[in-house]
Symmetry: C2
Subunit: 259 residues, 2 copies
Amino acid sequence: MRNLKLTIAYDGSDFHGFQTQRGSGLRTVQQELAEAWQRLTGENAQIVGAGRTDTGVHASGQVVNVRTASTAIPDDRVAHALNAVLADDLTVVKCEHVPNSFHARFDALSKMYEYSIYNDTFPSPLHRRYAYFVRGRLNVDAMDQAAGRLVGRHDFAAFSGNNRTVHSTVRTVMMCSVDRSGPLITLRVEADGFLYHMVRTIVGSLLCVAKGERRVAWISEALNSGDRAQAGPTAPPHGLVLRWVRYPSGSDSIAGNTP
Amino acid sequence: MRNLKLTIAYDGSDFHGFQTQRGSGLRTVQQELAEAWQRLTGENAQIVGAGRTDTGVHASGQVVNVRTASTAIPDDRVAHALNAVLADDLTVVKCEHVPNSFHARFDALSKMYEYSIYNDTFPSPLHRRYAYFVRGRLNVDAMDQAAGRLVGRHDFAAFSGNNRTVHSTVRTVMMCSVDRSGPLITLRVEADGFLYHMVRTIVGSLLCVAKGERRVAWISEALNSGDRAQAGPTAPPHGLVLRWVRYPSGSDSIAGNTP
């Protein structure tokens, strides 16, 4: 039995999210990886992901693990072999042989997401697929201050679309900051776990502050309320990218192993 | 009579280039702008572009001018009105009222193109539309040195796919440099004019140097030969973006008028 840790990247535009929805016939990342694996090895392996991403959300450093009895493909050929059969919007960027105990979801210490906003008078055709267009002046300093108020261990119920499937809505945010480079505004948020729609609700709420509709302190009030109705709207999925997943070993899935 | 200078941006992926090919039924930037203008004003205006871009080549700061007798739309509403009828892969980012003598092509002092290469072990789904994937180690220092040898006034016949339609193949390159940021390598080249496939042939040639197949000095030999067969292959179009066009007035079409 081998356990393989795969770091994968995908353009979420044409996927109905990460997780396979049995019998739905919808295209998902998990399903396409499982099918590619079966095509190569004949084996019906389970693909365990570090986390789900919603329809339209992208990843440059998602992590999955595959436990396999197949010896058809040596470790150092797995990524090449899978990429040869996967579509070009889903790529395996790294394959590592890990202990059998490794579990992509349970062992994850934290994940980092980036959300991109294109802020200008008119939208940019070259950014429209991977950044949310917002017209008009945005106060990025206020946005960054509000973002900073979310750092720490909090109950994020107010920033989650649906909490019915989780035991607890308490999460620890290690980093939450916003900066601007020309017309592009980027939110970076690292946490030990994310609730459903959490980053997108944070973005929607920070935009209320950035537009001057709300004060910086309001974000703390919304957080403390525990009430989804007190936070801002959910920003669209296409600006969101799962950048990396951190594990105890130190083998972070930071994609882009620059030669 | 009004003369309007429009700065436009487009994702070239689904266009058969800038220039209208009469009767072809192919989708072009010029044709869609002319149709949008006609739909808004009823006027069959001529759209003059600063330069042609090939099928698949993008722009963030292409410039066109439109001479119009129509008073249907005030200057400050032209961009909004056109964007309301244009598809989302073609956007007017600026509209300026300019003297009747202004001609987008004849008055252009220089243009700047950027070419992006994604250099890593595996391609990136999130960069695949706007960067050319090249696997393996590339020597960016050598690439940048070779690029520097193209700066100046030279006969660029060796770097042009087809010279039948031009009087002269002499052009002045003001800037030609390459740098790397993570897996992304970017060539920036500014010239007073570009020959057919010139930037893409420069990129293909610089990649021969970057891969160690050719020495830095070879680029000068290829240039001096005046023979297309002596230069490298033509790189694909999707990594190329027309960034801006410079005019005497100082009103460069550098897109992204950050609020």
